[in-house]
Subunit: 410 residues, 2 copies
């Protein structure tokens, strides 16, 4: 019998807007000849392998068959309680386990929030440029976007706040810009959100990565200060993760929110994967209870601070004729904006690959793809000498780009 | 400041059709006074704790930081290769790692297939009564359903096959009915699917649980026999899992399909959770490579066979006046159909809870909720003496139900 099947049914319509950029970057990350400044990956050499080995042994001894079951959908109760305790301490108001849903990384929190709140065509008010993974997570829900202006002065912000299903904000060391949003802007956004009666999704993966002093209160903490008593009933939906403070391979993240929303998100999670692994959640619990995580973070911070400084110093020498940036006070990225109109970072990317260096062009951080004048440069994944080599290659890539466009180059 | 937020935006529309039945059953499962015949849970006392403890130690020693990274989205390459090898051996044609996507249990495979193939209002042709988790997984995609008739003789089947985005089939020991679909019906369905040019989703979680002889070739194997050469390009999308042969808490499942579909499912997975934990996938790999899984399955089968027989024997004594069933040749469930019109299993469920026994009424296995004459009874979770006690309580519940309806009872 020969194989001549009929054409098969088409994929769902959201896939026609899909992208494979993250996959491309992950593939590039595996090429030893390429200096990748592209990904948002931690320094793998400081993943705490021995501590995790000890924690997994303790976890299975402690819990036995209990952590080999299907979840609770909401996650291991003892870890939910530990995360609630963490946020009670950080915000000065009580959160309980009923306010916590454990997820497969913070990424699953993004997926579940989109699934729970958004029908096709509905509005998300988001800062832009924004996290590519969030756009990916919400693409199957087919939302439309408007841009959150943190100054709240842009025309139409109040109307957009009233229409939006939620506001998406990354106040701490945002991806891709590295910006730490000032506290007065956080307070003002919360005012507007409370007045408009919408949800406020606070994505906070970079919280542990504070290089130059404390990040200050989260949006969740701002709300808690205003409403310190009773069951939490605020608009903030807070996403956190252990991917930056321990290791992304644990795939342990969490949502903190009002209990009724947590229950609805849990229904959405049930229909997504029934439950995440309790085994990895129990390992995470050991790492938190033993205080290992708290002791490990300063080591990560010291490593990344040195890398940030090395990258920025090299860039000042080799790239500042064409780019400008602020030194980020935390996080994983430097956001370099072209001074020169001749530099289109999509075009630069091709030359960069030819020079065996990768970054992320700004166009991917915008649903329209229109922003072509900046690039995101990661400094956490590679040691200083590799970062410096990456910057040298970037310089050569810029010179190639400009040489190709003699009529426009400065 | 007092808290008087505006009403917040509504949840996505699919949630108005949602259910919390699985959560209810999980909660009941935690009550020691209740004999739960409701869930689809394995016998936790035979989860291989010691073997998993040894495997997790070997895995971290073997892979180190590599399994603490974000995935590959598609999963640990060595486990993808091992699963591909398993299906090459089972079907007699080559599958490669490119044909395998690792998922958070088979449940995530259901979610990803829905996300990838279905737009709102599109058709899924499914056997009914069907797996509640599949209905849950696809609810956010808002499909419509028609009923697959395994005899393929029902009016409109050919038209439905041509319109359907995919056919959903559970040929081995289906949930909830326990039916093992005969090989000639499998071959005939594959004929129709190939003629219609649609996808065929084969969900096979119960494959290891063969009590009375082999299940015979899967739909995937049927297709492989017809098209033994070249890259796999068939319509079958096969879902498997380690939840029944090792432990559900590993959350390791897989999709086997043509490579281009796997790549698209991986894009959908990336936007769902970036990747599953490589740590649990590496544990799974150790359990497979060491041949532990293969050696463990006969122990599970022997345990479940004894339980099935104990349940069915007790039911013959205590329930056969009111219910009839086939003894299932595998899987986890007996599907008991009321002989008596006076027995509405939704109503029976209330009396059962009053007698501290739980089952799953048939209404939840149908998107219309109209099927009220049967119940799904699980026999894998509890030892024989508990199953017998559960049946005694069910008998009392039936008597209570009939006593309440003297006008209709036989």
């Amino acid at each position: 019998m020969t194989q001549s099947p009929s054409p098969r049914p088409a994929f769902a319509s959201w896939l026609s807007t899909g992208n494979s950029i993250t996959q491309q970057f992950m593939a590039i990350g595996g090429r030893p000849d390429v200096v990748s400044l592209a990904g948002g990956l931690p320094a793998s050499e400081i993943y705490p392998v021995e501590a995790i080995a000890a924690a997994q042994e303790r976890a299975l001894t402690r819990w036995g068959t209990q952590i080999l079951e299907y979840g609770a959908i909401e996650g291991l109760p003892a870890l939910r309680a530990a995360i609630a305790e963490r946020f009670s301490a950080a915000t000065g108001r009580r959160f309980g386990p009923e306010n916590v849903l454990l997820t497969t990384g913070a990424m699953q929190g993004l997926d579940l929030v989109g699934k729970t709140l958004v029908d096709p065509g509905e509005l998300i008010l988001s800062q832009f440029p924004t996290y590519l993974g969030a756009l990916d997570a919400w693409r199957p829900r087919m939302p439309r976007y408007e841009r959150l202006d943190w100054s709240l002065e842009a025309p139409g912000q109040d109307a957009a706040l009233r229409q939006a299903k939620f506001v998406y904000a990354v106040p701490n060391y945002s991806n891709p810009t590295g910006v730490l949003v000032p506290q007065d802007q956080r307070a003002a956004l919360l005012d507007k959100v409370e007045a408009a009666g919408t949800w406020l999704l606070e994505d906070d993966p970079y919280l542990p990565l504070q290089f130059d002093g404390p990040a200050g209160p989260s949006l969740l903490a701002h709300h808690a200060q205003r409403h310190p008593n009773g069951a939490y009933a605020g608009p903030v939906i807070y996403l956190g993760t252990l991917s930056k403070s321990l290791a992304p391979g644990l795939r342990v993240g969490w949502v903190v929110a009002e209990a009724s929303l947590i229950a609805t998100l849990a229904l959405a999670k049930q229909s997504t994967d029934i439950a995440s692994s309790l085994l990895t959640q129990a390992i995470a619990l050991e790492m938190i209870e033993s205080n290992f995580e708290a002791q490990h973070i300063p080591k990560i911070v010291a490593t990344y601070r040195e890398r940030r400084d090395a990258l920025c110093a090299a860039a000042t020498t080799h790239l500042s004729d064409w780019f400008e940036w602020e030194v980020p006070p935390g996080g994983m990225f430097v956001w370099m904006r072209a001074k020169d109109e001749a530099i289109d970072t999509d075009a630069l990317y091709t030359h960069a690959l030819a020079e065996n260096v990768a970054f992320v062009p700004s166009s991917v951080f915008d649903p329209s793809g229109a922003l072509k004048s900046a690039m995101r440069v990661n400094f956490t994944r590679s040691p200083p000498e590799v970062l410096v080599e990456g910057v040298l290659r970037l310089e050569r890539a810029v010179r190639r780009l400009l040489a190709e466009r003699p009529g426009r180059a400065a």
